[in-house]
Every structure is written in structure tokens, then in C-alpha cells.
């Protein structure tokens, strides 16, 4: 095989934003994504929206998965989306939110540009399938 053959790969940033200090779920999803053949950049705990934007832009990820359990999604997610827009990165980034989000907020997040919200108990395959089908091309 020539080293020149095209090698597309789905790149995801799994991000923990805000104050909650529980990232078991983020680890599980990072691992599941890896096993699905994705390249996963894990951001670590306690990220500010700025950091997430910086990482998403520099890593040029197709998918940004934001995990929030603290209930602060209404303040944090818009900041991230605005940041992505500032760097012209919003259009071709699939933004997902995982965590505990009330139905009303879900709709609001989607209107803002979040592609999908995955609540607790979502089967991993469902998320992976969604990413495969919707990840923007590079």
C-alpha cells in the first residue's frame, strides 16, 4: 500500500465543561468511541468554554461531545457555540451534549445548534451510529 492512500478518520473531542467533577461517563464514551475506530481527544475535567473552543478548533474535530451533569448547560453551551462561530468552526462541527438535561432545555439547546442531546441510559451504539451518520466530512 502506498503511504499516500487517503485515510479519513472521525475525530471527536470529548469535553467536560464546568464544575462537576465526575467523568466516569466521559471516560466510558471516550473508550467506546475509540473502539468504534474514532480518534478521541479527551479534554480532562473542569474546562472553561474557552478551552473547549481552543481544543475543538486546533484539533479540527468533526464532532464535539460535551458532557455536563451540573445543570449548567444553559449558560455553558451557548458560550461554546459562540466561540466556535468566532473561529468559523461551528458550521462543520457536530455538537452533541450528554448528561442530565430537562426536556424543555433540550429543545432550547437544539435551537441553538446542538445536533442531539443524549440523556442517561442512552445505548452507546445509538450515539456511535448517530456520529457515523452525521459527522461532517473533512
Amino acid at each position: 500500500m502506498s503511504a499516500d492512500s487517503q485515510q479519513q478518520s472521525i475525530r471527536c473531542l470529548v469535553a467536560k465543561v464546568g464544575l462537576d467533577g465526575h467523568d466516569r461517563g466521559a471516560h466510558v464514551i471516550a473508550r467506546a468511541f475509540r473502539d468504534a475506530g474514532f480518534e478521541v481527544v479527551y479534554s480532562g475535567l473542569h474546562n472553561a468554554p474557552d478551552e473547549i473552543v481552543q481544543a475543538a478548533v486546533q484539533e479540527d474535530v468533526n464532532v464535539l461531545g460535551i458532557s455536563i451533569l451540573s445543570g449548567a448547560h444553559n449558560t455553558l453551551v451557548p458560550k461554546i457555540i459562540d466561540g466556535l462561530k468566532e473561529y468559523d468552526a461551528f458550521e462543520d462541527t457536530l455538537v452533541l451534549v450528554g448528561g442530565v438535561v430537562p426536556d424543555d432545555d433540550k429543545e432550547e439547546l437544539k435551537e441553538m445548534g446542538v445536533a442531539e442531546v443524549f440523556g442517561p441510559g442512552t445505548p452507546m451504539e445509538e450515539t456511535i451510529e448517530f456520529v457515523r451518520e452525521n459527522a461532517p466530512e473533512r
Binding site: S9, R34, D35, E39, Y42, V57, E59, D88
Partner: protein
């Protein structure tokens, strides 16, 4: 045609300092997306100003933490930094978790530290090409310092750090008895050694062992001297890419007589980082003054051209094999003793050889 136009814009935007464009260019390089070669060609004339530093060492040696602190110091001096961190990918799924970003805490929110994770993607030898091209993108973007960080585990990883002007090897304390130190491998490629986590037990001994090793490869008895010199010149030899460099005399202009330095660091606390950067700067200065910086760059480009040609020729040959009925058919004929592998190879190559001779 359309792709060409889009790429011209990308190059323009990258040169204008748009982070998004830089990130996208690196993605295209990684993906070997259509037109990426042209992209890299266009960038080339804007490169050559950055200082490239390779950092390698075993997993857990503290590479990312040190890189974070390095980037921070460079930024304090007003220099911009690009970091490429290479992580392995799964040989089964191709997936990877790229976790080094977590440790870039000192540079959070500072876009002038451009940190990019790359996965090995199972390339056979292609990874170093992709990394070299990504370095070019950062260089053209105008980064003053570019740091390549990779686990020093195998040939592929060692190939990557060859792209660097200066190679630093991180050694954690107690990482081996003196037998480990004698083993061939990453210890031979270091211009600078950092014994990181120097606050741990065994640090002094590790420093001692490293110094002895360096001393031995520099000044062993006459029989050893040439091999010692070789080991030493490994620094410059490694640039030559093994075979096919008859041009360079053994002791020709490529006299690499830099004695590798050993520095103690506690990256987590930022201790010793200043000294470490000082030694890196010394090495760079040495390369500049001795003219080796240029000689090495030339050797690197020579090797890069060879690699590209090898890849391209082998791709051409793959097409030719297909055109002549496929490799299985050829193997079958060999199996039936109708022909032999040498004759087949000759036949496949014939059109190419004829073409070149007619020129």
C-alpha cells in the same frame, strides 16, 4: 479545479494567521486528502524559520508536562509555539484516545500555543511524512518553536523525531539498571537528556548512568572510538537515513562533536525547565555555528525526496501490476514454475525502465 481554488484560499488564510485554516491544513495532511501535496508544496517557500525540537521518552516519563512548561516559558519570552503530540492508534479498530492535551494546563486559552494531537493511524512509515508536513504547516504559519512529542517506543517514533533540529530524550529515574542503558535505541538519538521527576528516588543514579554512557560513547579505547564516534555521530548519521549516502565521507564535513547534555527537571513544578531550554538553545546555536543546521536540513530534504519517490514509484508499480493481471496471477505462475519472482519483477518494471532510458 474547484479543489485547487479552495486550497489556494486555505493557504492564504493560513499565511494570514487564521487558526482554523492551519487546523484544516493539518487535517488534510493527515487524511492525505486530494490535493494535499500541492498544499504542502505551496507552503514550502514560507518555511525554514522555526526551530524544531523533538521530545521523546518512555510512557509516563512526563513528556507532556514538560512540553506544557516549555511552551509556557517560550510564550513568556514572546515567542509563539506549535506542538504536535503523536499517540499510538489501535491496530484493530484504528481508534485512538489522544490524551496529552489534558496536561497543557499552563497554556489554556492561549491560541498562540497551537497544540495538535496526531494518531499513528497505523501508517507504515507514512506517519513521519505526515508529521514532517504538519511541521511545515506550523512553520509557514509563523511559529517560532515547534515541539514534536512522541513515545519513544519503536522505529516509527524514532523516525518522527528525526524531523527535529534538536532531540531531547526524557528519562524517568530508576527507569533501568545499567543494562538498559547499554541497550540500543532511543538513548542513541538524544542530543539532550532530561532526567525528569528528579525529586524521585534513584534520580541521581540515573543521571550518573547517563553521564557514564555518554562518556563511554565519546572516549572509549581506539577500537571503540570509531564505533563510539559512530554512536555519537548517530546524531548526524540518523539524518542520513541509512543506505545510499556514499557522498558523505565518514569524517567529512558532517563532524558532529556535540557532547549530549544531561539536565535534571521536575516538570510538574517547573524546576529545571529554564536550564533545559538553555541547553536546547546551546545545541541549536552549536548547529548554526558549525553549519550543521544547513547540512542536516539538506540531508533531511534528500531523505524526504527519496521517501516520496519510493512511495510514488511503488504506487506506479501497483498500478502496473494491476494492469498486467494482478499479483495473484503472477504468484500463481511462479508457483507453477512457469517463471520466477526475478523475471516477473523485471517484466513489470520493463515499461518504466524503457521509458526512463528513452528520455
Amino acid at each position: 479545479m474547484n479543489a485547487d481554488g479552495a486550497h489556494a484560499d486555505l493557504v492564504e488564510e493560513l499565511l494570514a494567521g487564521k487558526h482554523r485554516a492551519l487546523a484544516r491544513v493539518i487535517t488534510k495532511i493527515e487524511n492525505r486528502a486530494p490535493g494535499y501535496r500541492e498544499l504542502v508544496s505551496q507552503l514550502h517557500q514560507h518555511t525554514g524559520d522555526a526551530e524544531v525540537i523533538g521530545i521523546t521518552g518512555s510512557p509516563g516519563a512526563g513528556k507532556s508536562t514538560l512540553v506544557d512548561k516549555m511552551a509556557n516559558r517560550y510564550r513568556e519570552r514572546g515567542e509563539t509555539v506549535g506542538v504536535i503530540a503523536v499517540d499510538p492508534s489501535s491496530p484493530f479498530t484504528g481508534g485512538a484516545v489522544l490524551g496529552d492535551r489534558i496536561r497543557m494546563a499552563s497554556n489554556v486559552g492561549d491560541m498562540d500555543v497551537f497544540f495538535r494531537s496526531m494518531s499513528a493511524r497505523g501508517h507504515l512509515g507514512g506517519l513521519s511524512t505526515a508529521t514532517t508536513d504538519a511541521v511545515k504547516a506550523l512553520d509557514a504559519f509563523g511559529k517560532d518553536k515547534i515541539i514534536i512529542e512522541t513515545v519513544g517506543a519503536g522505529q516509527n517514533e524514532i523516525d518522527i523525531v528525526k524531523t527535529a533540529d534538536t532531540v531531547a530524550v526524557l528519562v524517568p529515574p530508576g527507569s533501568g539498571d545499567n543494562v538498559q542503558m547499554l541497550k540500543a535505541g532511543i538513548l542513541e538519538i538524544g542530543d539532550v537528556f532530561a532526567v525528569n521527576k528528579a525529586d524521585l528516588d534513584g534520580a541521581d543514579q540515573t543521571v550518573q548512568e547517563l553521564r557514564e554512557m555518554i562518556h563511554m560513547r565519546g572516549t572509549a579505547g581506539s577500537g571503540m572510538a570509531s564505533s563510539g564516534h559512530h554512536g555519537n555521530a548517530g546524531g548526524s548519521d540518523r539524518m542520513k537515513g541509512g543506505a545510499g549516502d556514499e557522498g558523505d565521507g565518514e569524517d567529512g564535513e558532517d563532524e558532529y562533536d556535540w557532547e549530549p547534555q544531561v539536565v535534571e527537571t521536575i516538570a510538574k513544578e517547573g524546576e529545571g525547565v529554564e536550564e533545559f531550554l538553555g541547553v536546547l538553545a546551546d545545541h541549536y546555536e552549536y548547529l548554526e555555528e558549525s553549519g550543521l543546521l544547513e547540512t542536516r536540513a539538506q540531508t533531511r530534504y534528500a531523505e524526504e525526496i527519496r521517501t516520496l519517490l519510493r512511495n510514488d514509484v511503488s504506487a506506479l508499480m501497483e498500478d502496473e501490476i494491476e494492469a498486467q493481471g494482478g499479483i495473484e496471477k503472477m504468484a500463481d505462475r511462479v508457483l507453477e514454475r512457469e517463471t520466477d519472482p526475478y523475471s516477473v519483477a523485471d517484466d513489470v518494471l520493463k515499461p518504466l525502465r524503457d521509458c526512463l532510458e528513452e528520455q
